[in-house]
């Protein structure tokens, strides 16, 4: 075991840090908290500018081939970049889904002309991509989706509705999964496409979240025409394409959302219980210790993943672990932070609540974290079935033609 950089890694880290120092201020935890909310026009512009600058300097798509504008670097370089960038005040990453999930899927299934046209602008932050899988009646059960894609001569015509589309309101293109054959079992009747989000027949309506922002959207398709060249994979192979996309989701291992254990420690130092800092109270210490053990465990699990990645191994279920632990802990830490504030715990006013309302914001965001990108329940299924090898549940719906299912409600 060795936590030190190799000379090559150290050189790359120094290069990354020099670039970051020259371009961004350091992050300041004590300053106003990142609010869980919408990305406004100004933030979007900042995000695009930052992505363009990273791409120009060779820090976007670090592991991508040079042919597509990447650096052709190693997974360890990507990890080092992520570690370094996390220390700086950078705009909200609106490219995560596009660059982490959509473009890799395109690379696996689209023809060369499509890649020539779309990969570089995406990497430079000029065009943003979203993922259009979930539907009102197909959340956890993605393969239960109803949006129809019907052949019409050489083209396809799409009608239906998607939901929970992150960033659809500022996206240019999207990856669509639709039902092309309702007469076969549910997983067999799907086809994947890429679409232009600005095309006629696409309507985006932001969803107002309980946490205040509108990061997610409903997307409606009314006679949206797609050329057959927008198809990804063969007709009926859409589920396979979707699995490629979802597997790439695992690579995008994120930091835990705030308030995290460090924020709780900061709060416990700042507020008093019986005239002493809360962190001196044995009950508070016990809580912090237990969360610290989990937080440290997750951080070191990420190191295990990085090491595996750097050896060219495919990432395992670590992201399922991280998400299931982080989301529940976020909710618990946020609630406990409010508890430490006593009678003022329910104050959400950022001017009055400690740390600009970070704990109250986190409490309102936590339920979404437990749902979006795989619910707690689905993630436990994934761990149990794909990691531990426990048998799947008997499925009443799996082999039945989709159009003979009871209507999903």
């Amino acid at each position: 075991m060795d936590f030190d950089d190799t000379p090559d890694e150290a050189a790359f880290r120094a290069e990354a840090r020099a670039f970051l120092d020259a371009n961004r201020p350091r992050k300041d935890r004590a300053r106003a908290a990142p609010r869980y909310g919408e990305v406004d026009a100004a933030e979007l512009a900042r995000a695009k500018a930052w992505q363009a600058r990273k791409a120009a300097a060779g820090f976007a798509g670090i592991t991508w081939p040079r042919e597509w504008g990447g650096r052709g670097g190693s997974p360890m370089q990507q990890i080092i970049w992520n570690q370094e960038e996390a220390g700086y005040d950078v705009p909200y990453d609106v490219f995560l889904i596009g660059l982490g999930m959509c473009i890799p899927t395109l690379m696996a299934y689209a023809g060369r002309p499509v890649l020539e046209r779309y990969v570089r602008p995406a990497l430079r932050g000029e065009e943003i991509w979203c993922q259009l899988f979930s539907e009102p009646a197909a959340g956890s059960d993605v393969a239960g989706l109803c949006t129809r894609a019907e052949r019409n001569g050489e083209d396809w015509v799409v009608n239906g509705q998607k939901v929970w589309t992150s960033g659809a309101h500022f996206c240019d293109f999207g990856l669509l999964l639709a039902r092309s054959d309702p007469a076969v079992p549910k997983h067999a009747g799907l086809t994947a496409f890429w679409i232009d989000m600005k095309a006629p027949g696409v309507e985006v309506r932001p969803i107002h979240q309980m946490s205040g922002g509108s990061h997610f959207n409903e997307v409606f398709f009314t006679d949206l025409r797609l050329a057959d060249r927008q198809r990804l994979g063969a007709p009926g192979q859409g589920w396979k394409v979707a699995l490629t996309t979802l597997m790439n989701e695992r690579l995008a291992v994120g930091e835990p959302r705030r308030p995290d254990i460090h924020d709780l420690i900061a709060l416990a130092r700042a507020v008093a219980i019986d005239g002493r800092p809360a962190i001196a109270d044995p009950a508070v210490r016990l809580k912090i210790a237990e969360w610290w053990a989990d937080s440290a465990g997750l951080a070191y699990t990420r190191f295990r993943t990085m090491t595996a990645l750097s050896r060219g191994q495919t990432p395992g279920p670590e992201n399922a672990i991280a998400k299931v632990v982080n989301a529940a802990r976020l909710q618990a830490i946020a609630a406990y932070g409010m508890d430490l504030l006593g009678q003022a715990g329910a104050i959400a006013d950022p001017a009055l609540a400690p740390m600009a309302g970070l704990f109250q914001d986190g409490l309102l965001a936590a339920p979404g974290q437990r749902i979006a990108g795989g619910t707690d329940e689905i993630l436990r299924n994934i761990i149990a079935e794909r990691v531990l090898g426990l048998p799947a549940e008997p499925r009443v719906d799996k082999d039945m033609p989709f159009n003979r299912h009871a209507p999903a409600r």
Binding site: D339, P367, G368
Partner: protein
């Protein structure tokens, strides 16, 4: 032994539930998130008309002649409906303080008007972060005038008067302040549940009149114990409603070809919520009995009921959202209304740590162990 509500109380519950289903739908609560809607004020007046605001107050002063059971039944139903009205702060804290500690003149001046809904009163104890304690009161009462800042104060923007905790030469006291009078400044403030508006109230030499019966911390603590019982019922009502909503959705929503409520992940989650709610219910009932009959048992019973109900409400509210999945996380769906109220109630009279410590202190005092 008879551990159940009386027939009268059950009739009152049925009446309240019908009334609130009509006058306080979720749409009204949702509207109150943005700004106090006129229907909320109308609801309060109608509640006064039904005698609800006088429940438990002396009949001589406009009271309705009903006791703790009725008060708890109403608190539970208002909690179940998430009614955007200041019943806890106005009736259970402020009016209760005047009823328990006010002079005959103060009672005669205010209780009839409060019971009739002609005036409302706020209760101002908190001064920002920290749990209730004698040392946490820094506002000062000198020569009939109060100086200090109170926050959060439920209903502080709207109320006519406030019962304010302050230190005088002898220690903590309660005093009446005219909120529209001189030396009072109020600012609205955002709470995690905006449907019950709160204010930041600053007094600068604001004229104040002591409640003669409220001398010392013990009198204030006793008021908190009394209020904790209806507060627990409010949380219990919210928890029950959130559980019912989750169960109904789990029966109706299908995934993977089955109602999601047939999956053990959902089924056992909701069974756990049910267990928490029923334990909270039993604790609340016992506290109701203690409030009505046995002052000696009240501190332990009230704290136990409050801790139990707040925890059950939070659990029910968060698992209701989880059961709903994505839709449960939207502004336009109802589950977040319960989640917000659960957190508001859990901090309204001091946070969970405060009530657990109060429970332990009472447990040791009662030598119940």
């Amino acid at each position: 032994m008879n551990f159940a509500f009386s027939d009268d109380s059950r009739l009152l519950r049925d009446q309240a539930r019908r009334f609130l289903a009509e006058r306080c739908p979720a749409s009204l609560v949702r509207a109150a998130l943005d700004a106090a809607p006129p229907q909320a004020a109308a609801l309060w007046r109608e509640m006064a008309g039904l005698g609800w605001l006088g429940v438990g107050l002396p009949e001589a002063h406009g009271g309705a002649g009903l006791g703790a059971e009725a008060l708890c039944v109403l608190a539970e139903e208002l909690g179940r409906a998430l009614a955007p009205v200041p019943f806890l702060s106005g009736r259970c804290l402020a009016a209760e303080a005047i009823a328990q500690c006010g002079s005959p003149a103060q009672q005669a001046a205010w209780l009839p008007r409060l019971a009739a809904g002609e005036a409302t009163a706020a209760f101002a104890l908190a001064e920002g972060a920290g749990d209730p304690s004698p040392g946490a009161i820094r506002a000062r009462l000198r020569n009939g005038r109060i100086d200090g800042t109170k926050l959060p104060v439920a209903d502080g923007m709207n109320a006519d008067i406030a019962v304010i905790a302050a230190q005088d030469a002898d220690g903590p006291v309660l005093a009446l302040v005219d909120l529209a009078g001189p030396g009072v400044e109020r600012q609205p403030m955002a709470m995690i549940d905006p449907s019950l508006p709160h204010a930041n109230v600053t007094c600068r030499a604001a004229p104040a009149e002591r409640l003669p019966g409220a001398a010392g911390w013990n009198a204030i603590a006793a008021l908190l114990d009394r209020a904790a019982v209806p507060a627990a019922f409010a949380a219990l009502g919210g928890a029950s409603a959130a559980l019912e909503m989750a169960v109904a959705y789990a029966k109706e929503r299908h995934a993977f070809g089955r109602a999601i409520g047939s999956f053990q992940a959902i089924k056992h989650k909701l069974a756990d919520v049910y267990v928490a709610v029923e334990l909270a219910r039993s604790n609340a009932w016992y506290a109701c009995w203690a409030l009505e009959r046995d002052a000696g048992a009240l501190p332990l019973a009230a704290a136990t009921a409050k801790v139990s109900a707040d925890a059950a409400f939070f659990q029910a509210a968060k698992e209701n959202i989880q059961t709903h999945g994505g839709i449960g996380f939207t502004w336009d769906a109802d589950p977040h209304l319960f989640y917000r109220r659960a957190m508001l109630l859990a901090h309204a009279l001091g946070g969970p740590r405060f009530w657990k410590e109060r429970m332990m202190a009472a447990l040791e005092t009662a030598n119940a162990a």
